[in-house]
Symmetry: C2
Amino acid sequence: MKTRQTIISAAAEVFDEFGYNGASMRQIMQRAGVTLGAVYFHFPNKEELARTVMNSQPGTVVPRLTSQGLQRVVDMTLVWSCQLQRDPILRAGVRLGVEQVGFGLRETASYEAWEHLIEDCFVGAQEFGELREHVVPRSLAEFVVGACTGVQLYSDLVCQRADLPARIVEMWKVLLPGIADDSTVQRIDASVQRATDLVA
Amino acid sequence: MKTRQTIISAAAEVFDEFGYNGASMRQIMQRAGVTLGAVYFHFPNKEELARTVMNSQPGTVVPRLTSQGLQRVVDMTLVWSCQLQRDPILRAGVRLGVEQVGFGLRETASYEAWEHLIEDCFVGAQEFGELREHVVPRSLAEFVVGACTGVQLYSDLVCQRADLPARIVEMWKVLLPGIADDSTVQRIDASVQRATDLVA
């Protein structure tokens, strides 16, 4: 693994465990097993490292997806819900994304990256004729990003995300009948079993 | 206003501005214009005060509602979305609710209070025949609480909640067709105008 990637992974672990304020460049250096000089060569400060971790999230989910259209959006959220229980990049990215206002950052790029990925899937779904006529891909993508953010937060509070995949399945049970026609709803697999299979 | 209520209001302002870690009992005392002894007489520590502020949220929204069933849930979220732009109790409650994991609290009571209020409305809506058959009031209420939490967070990041009422209107545009029959969807008013009227 390249040094830069090693540092990002180590930073993710440290941010996940200690949050932004609790993490130091020195701790990250130790976790990565590199010199402090190497850390600063790649990242001028902790803020830049936090930003990079936040923006690395989609890279840990998207390569696992093979489906298209509406099933792809569903799969994206299912994989995310499982990986959020164990992948430090995703866990740190979400923690930093939620807590950042408290330390003076307002980094929206990571939210917008998810939003664009999801919007693209909905546009595909629209082209495949899977969506109801009233659906606006962009508005729906914006809502799904907000909804997933809050659902994981609530699940984190209640049970440290143990039930997150089940809550995402419930989300799709609520959403699908309003956005897709009946035959598509029947066809889409939004189950915990599929989530488990996708990350196996 | 009773001393206890004065302290809660002052604490809400201080928590809203400085967060949990940034707020001190001394600051809250000064803001409330009472003695430190009075603060400690009512609240043994900052944690208890934070918990009380979090649990005071519904009291700032519910008294403004007059509708029933599905319109009542919609109104609850509309009023909340407007008041979150200015009511310190609500702003502090949401900030503490989101940031609490960072300072070692896992207080779910305030989320559950919203969930029960919303579930009651959905049960009412079900009795009025407003909901589609597949809808489970409790699951839907749980999802709405999570979704609203995330939607406000995203809106806060992007524009400090200036567009929150509009995002809540979008949420209902997405949700309503899947949970209510067509005639109910036509009848429900989920507009920014209604939000503005309700808090006027």
